[in-house]
Every structure is written in structure tokens, then in C-alpha cells.
Symmetry: C2
Subunit: 192 residues, 2 copies
Amino acid sequence: MVSFVVIGHTARTDGTFSLNDLAGGAGRMDVLCRCVNASLLLSHGVREDNDCSLVLLGSPSPPKTVKFSGNTVRSLNPDERSPAAFLKKALAIPCGSEFREAAPGVAVRKGGLNRLLQEGSYAVLDENGTDIRNVNLLPSAFLLSDHRNFTDDEKALIEDCPRFSVGPAVLHADHAITILLNEIDRRNAGWR
Amino acid sequence: MVSFVVIGHTARTDGTFSLNDLAGGAGRMDVLCRCVNASLLLSHGVREDNDCSLVLLGSPSPPKTVKFSGNTVRSLNPDERSPAAFLKKALAIPCGSEFREAAPGVAVRKGGLNRLLQEGSYAVLDENGTDIRNVNLLPSAFLLSDHRNFTDDEKALIEDCPRFSVGPAVLHADHAITILLNEIDRRNAGWR
């Protein structure tokens, strides 16, 4: 089981955004959608043991967290609009401090990074971290930022987290997730 | 320099498709758009030495090939709609047997896989191929299929091509490109 958390610094926190403007009015929701799909989707199947939580920090009511769970999500397709439609639905319903299911495998609650860090340990995917190929035992929960760097407040929260790098190039968050899961797939299959 | 060719078995060959329906009416153009972006985009930059050619086999006038060149493309963004808008523009202009530029770094011509194979050598990314990590000298041109398997006619054309696998899981084409480029990035940076 591998868990991902991705911070969406500008992503809308209500359901009024347009599926036709994910990169604009929705606050770079496109990045987050690709991260969901990289975390959960194989070519013709779902990574049932994985989940991906998006911490949304845009207007009008941040922070909210939307969690996609591979073992229960249904009809998730690999195009950006598919997870975006689930996000739109999840962000349209009233929510409190506990997760509320908006669709099978898609749940929403108020709260963000602070609470997630109280509930579990995360490693940070960071271009200055230790090469994942040189780590004997990889952790099972990872934190990434969207197209923006972590803010100073976030950096303070995660300063004690271990840091891992997927390679020498600075990549989009979804590409980093894909490479990390490849390393884990290889280890699980004895390919390393 | 790394070149990718991706076969789009159902992708429209005119510019009438909607940017709001890439996975449907456009014939799974979403897969091809993500492949373009995986081939060419870094987090905040372009892989200027790379190119990505899409062989489009859907209605109404297949085959056509649209080539995105990293060294000259401008304003390519990482969301699916961005390369799709270039594709729509390229497929809307008349074209012949030679590449015609539709926008900087985006060119279109008639013809498909047969011609590309006459012009250069390609390795096939295939889950049954040799593990890329076990190959001393990786080639610089790769061929992939979209969400469908290669047809029997395509298999006949590529039966003599070397085959490489990026890992034990069967992945979407864009994820395979991302992993392959990570391996090449590592070798170029001395990380291997």
C-alpha cells in the first residue's frame, strides 16, 4: 500500500469550477488530477492498495482534503476530466471535520496538511533528497507539492520528514509519482 | 535527443473535435496529449532535444502524423488541453506528404508508421521486452501504442524492432515514457 498527499496551493475548494478550465479557473486542478491518476491507475486496472489525498488551498473555503481510495473508487478514467468530475462532486457537498463520501472511494473533509501530519508519517519527494534507488526500505506514504514550492509554513511543518529524490531532473509531481511507483513495482516483483 | 512515436488508433484526423471531449469524440486524444507532455516537459521547462510524433489513425482521413519538436515548440503547457489545441490547429490545415508547420514546433503530414519506419529505426516499448535498466546502450527512438494493442499489420511492420520494458506493471503509454526518460536522465547525469 502506498499513500500520496499532494498540496494544491491554488485549487478551488468548492464545486463551481468548470471541467473545461481545470488549469485556469479551477486553480491548476489539472496537476492534481494527473497525480490522482498516476497514484491509482494501471493501463487496464486500478492500484487497489494505493490512495491519493489532495490538500486544496484555494478559494473559497480552504483547507479541504479530498481522498481517492484505490480499493473502492469506481469508473476512474485516465483523462484529467475524470478525477476532476469526482472532485467537483466532492467539493459541492457540505463537509465537516470527518471524511464524508461523495462517491465510492472519494471522500472529503475540512482540514489540511497539519492534520494529515498528526495522523501519519510522510516522506517528502524533493529533488534534493536521497535517491530512491539507494534506499533499502522505502516508506509507504509520500508528500508532494503541486506546481508551486512548499510555503514557509509548510516547510516548517515538514522539516523533520525524510526526503527522497526520484532522479536528477526536476519533474512535474505526477511524473515523480509514476517513477516512484515503478521503483516499488520493481522491488515487489523482484526486478530490482 | 530522444524521439517518441505513439500510435493513436482511434484519434481524429481533422480539427473538428472538441477540446471538452478529448477522451470521447476526439478518439482518446487525451492519451496522446499526455504522451506529448511526458516526452517534452520538465517541471519548469522543455526537453529541447526531444520530439514526439503522433500517428493518428481515426476518421476522417488517416493516416496523419503530427510531430511536436521540443527545440521549437512554444507555450506548451502540461494540461491535456494545451497539446490538444495544437493538434486541433494542425489537423485543421491542408497537408501533403511533407511536414507543414501549423505552429512553432508543431508540424503535420499525411502518412503513418510505414513511412516513419522507412526513415529511422525504433525500439518498441513493450511489457515483454528487455528491462531498460539491464541495457548498456539505450536507443534514442521509441515506438509505443495508445490504449490499444498494436494491430496485426503493425506487428508485422515492427517484428524486427528491439523491445524494451520499463517495469513489471502494465502502464499507460505516458507513464512508460516518463520512466524511460528518468532512466536516460540518470545515465546522462551519472546517477545510475
